[in-house]
């Protein structure tokens, strides 16, 4: 009875998860519309009506997609995963989850209203010395604090499970959600510090100037692990859920846990690779963080091998022959597999581009060009997002007591393919134009008839075409989401959770010795940041007053 109840997420937990998903998909609609308008403006063939500013729209796009959609989806998905694998939440845990949801939503509304009033066109990185309205920063602080409640739910449930099971090895999905939550809490301390101690007093006029170097460093201390906070839930699906969907076993439970531990250790002390072109940070410390960044390639390649091995193992068990015959045996008609698979493929050029970005001096070639925009539209906006869509195709009907029909499944595959086509055109054109020097974060301009700038325009038209195809894909996604949430036939949709093969080695208990892992995480952060951070404060140039350039 206990096992049977665990196979399904409890209805009370399902409501909490769906609340998160509603906000996530409303964000997709708003952010997607903003994205479409941006690519059309940048093509030079369209002007924004009604006094809407390009940078206002760009801020809206970045904030609601990169910050709101991702955080809400991840919080919802992790709560569902923990409820499914470690048991239904207690009343206290669920109440904490709702409290976090409400705090985050109040914060989101505050930030969104300020953006819509054109009081906060500071883009999603909210770099000083651009200065937004204090309510915008306060809203962001609410979102961060709310997310800590959601993370606390995961950690409390995990602690309860371990207590009830004599400290046995925890369910893999729960373990992964715990790693991601710990990383999130450690990372958000940085952004909370800059928002509460620097940006908020500065925007309220309590202090006149701000130390820009410190604020950017605190932002990127958070900003890079943020990337992994997006990516790890996708890896959760790849390692644990996809094997079950295709009918295979998890390649290795230990390898999956080890790669997650490596992400916890090495995704935080690496923020300087976003600041390679900035003054005020000694080259030695930049180089050190570049080396630490490159260590994160190891768990990514471990993940790649593990996935290929899962697919090959399954294909061979079905009688596949030859070096790549196993590819043919994969379920190419199942959207729950195909859509995340497109995301996996996109991570190959996405990861390769990331290595180029982080390669110290080579960053000069691409820094602040639209190559970077092309890069993160492959990683977060394809790899992560298509995996989230793939998860939604079974998780939404699972939570609402409905099923993914054949018709919706086929439509979902169309959605994934359209995304692939649109993103190949848009991101490909962004990468190419970036290598030709086209800047990111900039509205359409002919730059006084410059011949160099003229070369970028055909690529901007291509981005307009790709972006329009992506918008069609978003409409399809929203249609499918609404169908699965409200109209699809009633039934039981499985929440697939893979198991390790019988021949797999026993998982070492050391992976759950958090004193070791959190200790090393903190030590690495102190090692990578203490001296350059003191330097940024002691040898700071005069602080900057706030600017409103919009």
């Amino acid at each position: 009875m206990k096992t049977a109840s665990r196979l399904k997420v409890d209805q009370r937990d399902a409501k909490l998860v769906m609340a998160h998903f509603y906000v996530a998909f409303i964000s997709l609609a708003i952010g997607g519309m903003a994205g479409l308008l941006q690519v059309l403006v940048r093509s030079g063939l369209f002007e924004l009506p009604a006094g809407i500013g390009y940078y206002q729209l760009l801020t809206l796009h970045g904030v609601v997609l990169a910050l709101v959609l991702t955080t809400y989806f991840i919080m919802g998905f992790q709560i569902a995963a923990v409820s499914r694998t470690s048991g239904t939440l207690t009343a206290v845990q669920r109440k904490l989850g709702w409290t976090g949801f409400i705090i985050m939503t109040i914060g989101t509304a505050m930030a969104a209203i300020m953006i819509l009033l054109n009081e906060a066109s500071v883009l999603y990185t909210f770099y000083a010395p651009l200065q937004a309205h204090a309510v915008f920063y306060l809203g962001l602080a609410f979102v961060i604090v709310g997310s800590w409640f959601g993370s606390a739910v995961i950690l409390l449930k995990y602690r309860q499970w371990r207590k009830e099971n004599n400290k046995a090895v925890s369910p893999l999905l729960t373990f992964m959600a715990v790693v991601n939550s710990i990383m999130w809490i450690v990372a958000t301390i940085g952004v909370a510090a800059t928002v509460l101690l620097q940006l908020l007093p500065w925007s309220l006029g309590l202090v006149e100037t701000i130390n820009v170097g410190v604020s950017r460093t605190l932002f990127w201390y958070f900003g890079h692990p943020l990337v992994y906070f997006w990516l790890l839930p996708a890896y959760m699906a790849w390692y644990v859920i996809i094997p079950k969907i295709i009918g295979a076993k998890i390649f290795s439970d230990s390898l999956a846990r080890f790669s997650f531990i490596l992400f916890l250790l090495f995704s935080i002390p690496v923020g300087f690779h976003h600041q390679l072109m900035e003054p005020g940070i000694d080259a030695t410390w930049k180089f050190l963080q570049v080396v630490l960044t490159f260590i994160v390639i190891i768990p990514s390649l471990m993940t790649a091998f593990s996935l290929f091995a899962t697919f090959e193992g399954y294909g061979r068990s079905q009688g596949a022959k030859g070096l790549f015959g196993w590819l043919k045996k994969l379920p190419w008609k199942d959207a729950r597999f195909v859509v995340p698979f497109i995301g996996m493929v996109a991570f190959i050029p996405g990861g390769a581009g990331g290595i180029i970005n982080a390669s110290n001096q080579m960053n000069q070639v691409v820094h602040n060009t639209i190559w970077v925009t092309g890069h993160f539209h492959l990683t977060v906006a394809t790899t992560v997002l298509l995996t989230f869509f793939g998860i939604s195709y079974w998780l939404v009907p699972h939570l609402t007591g409905r099923i993914l029909t054949k018709e919706m499944n086929n439509l979902a595959i169309t959605q994934g393919v359209l995304w692939f086509v649109g993103m190949t055109i848009m991101s490909g054109a962004m990468h190419a134009a970036g290598l030709l020097g086209a800047p990111r974060r900039s509205s359409f301009s002919e730059y006084g008839g410059s011949s160099v700038a003229a070369d970028w325009i055909p690529y901007q038209v291509a981005q307009g075409i790709g972006g329009s195809i992506l918008f069609l894909s978003i409409i399809l996604m929203l249609y499918i989401f609404i169908n699965l949430a409200f109209f699809s036939p009633k039934g039981e949709q499985d929440f697939p959770v893979g198991e390790a093969g019988h021949e797999a080695e026993k998982t070492p208990k050391v992976f759950e010795n958090w004193k070791i892992w959190i200790g090393i995480t903190v030590a690495l952060i102190l090692f990578a940041y203490t001296i350059p951070f003191i330097d940024l404060i002691q040898n700071a140039p005069p602080g900057s007053k706030g600017y409103k350039l919009w």
């Binding site: 790649a304 290929f308 050029p349 290595i355 001096q361 000069q364 070639v365």
Partner: protein
């Protein structure tokens, strides 16, 4: 005592699946990373 271990080993040897395809796939991914990296490195040397 020794006999079951031998049997186990043989059984394990027989069941060991082939991951040649996965290995070659990862090598292809690695090669793609190296090629793109050197592509931009050449551009870097040319420009700076």
């Amino acid at each position: 005592m020794a006999q079951p271990e031998t049997v186990k080993k043989q059984k394990k040897g027989e069941e060991e699946p082939s991951f040649k395809g996965a290995f070659v796939s990862v090598l292809i991914v690695g090669l793609f990373i190296i090629i793109t990296w050197f592509g931009v490195f050449i551009l870097f040397n040319y420009r700076f």
